[in-house]
Symmetry: C2
Subunit: 220 residues, 2 copies
């Protein structure tokens, strides 16, 4: 049996090791940071997860998943993103309010529930923030690789995914009428600080490079 806490550790490890940079392993401190816990607590849990054969790890070494561990992490992520989709699509939640609730719902144990929820939502591929929802077979829909900050003056693109899903950033995007699926035209690029002048819904806005780095897009 895997506890809520253990699931949260595996999910955090998943976030660290599934980074685009190809890293397949992570360290104690990084995990502690992500979970807002102390390294001592993480170290303690790592021993438990190793004993349960959910991670590979040896003293002073790096941490990586076993197949069993990765499978559990994927299921927790799948549940998290399905619930977020439910909260936004069915219950009418705003996309910046769903994370904390999904953080709880992701731990509900019932295979039947997950599959019925998936059906009820129409087998969605992406959650409200554009993140891919892992499928029950363990595969994952493709994710866009281009960020808005790499676009040039004159480019027109569609927002596909939001990288930073903090409530603050999501609320900021809300004010700019930017959602997943929104069309954005790059009107100008300021070479001094790489900020962009963009057009959304006929309105012009200036966004910093940091903002543009956090918006994945595809050409359209």
């Amino acid at each position: 049996m895997i506890s809520h806490t253990e699931e949260d550790y595996l999910k955090a490890l998943f976030r660290l090791v599934s980074g685009k940079q190809g890293k397949q392993e992570a360290g104690t401190n990084a995990l502690a940071d992500l979970l807002s816990l102390k390294p001592a607590s993480v170290n303690n849990m790592l021993k438990k997860l190793r004993k349960k054969e959910l991670i590979d790890y040896e003293k002073y070494g790096k941490i990586s998943f076993t197949d069993k561990g990765r499978q559990i992490a994927l299921l927790v992520v799948r549940k998290h993103r399905l619930w977020e989709t439910f909260l936004v699509d069915k219950l009418g939640f705003s996309w910046d309010r769903v994370h904390d609730i999904a953080e709880q719902l992701e731990h509900i144990r019932s295979d039947e529930l997950v599959e019925k929820l998936d059906w009820f939502l129409g087998h969605p591929e992406y959650d409200p923030h554009g993140d891919p929802i892992p499928r029950s077979d363990g595969s994952t829909p493709t994710t866009p690789s281009a960020v808005l900050s790499s676009m040039q003056k004159g480019d027109v693109c569609k927002v596909m995914m939001v990288k930073d899903t903090s409530a603050a950033f999501l609320q900021y995007l809300e004010r700019l009428s930017i959602h997943v699926g929104t069309c954005v035209s790059v009107m100008d690029k300021v070479s001094f600080d790489n900020s962009l002048v963009i057009e959304v819904d006929g309105k012009h806005h200036t966004v910093s490079q940091k903002v543009a780095d956090n918006l994945y897009v595809s050409y359209c």
Copy 2:
């Protein structure tokens, strides 16, 4: 902050003290039985709940709610029954599969979620087993008082609520096509053991007194 465990204790206490017999208090052993725990564990928790002012209780005395405690118990029951309604009405679960899942979902913390779920379900008054769903103001819809076993030969009534909601009993009712809302005619009553011959959907069945005791009905 109230833990999942504390919520389960309060919900169990609610079941004991809201019995129709007018008992407003319960004992350590009864609570232990209901929760499948040992009296020592319950005693331990009672001290915590008292310190948090959720129950009134003194050594060797009986246990009853404070207003604060009753309010929390009612909210947990409300959430449990709303989630059961969601599982059956929206996800297509069978009514004998929802209890264990709702047992988990009832602990999800979010006032906004409860109210939006209630709206999404159309403000239901009764759950799939006919149990009343406490309202957000603390009031509770009325419940039927007559049981099928009190009906006489020739009576026609409608099933309003199922008392024993164990999977075994619910599956038995399923085989007889008996649900909440089903019309039942009493064709005969065997005075020897009080078993009943009933007609449901044009079919005749014989049910024991024990079964009939567990079906709340109203005349129709």
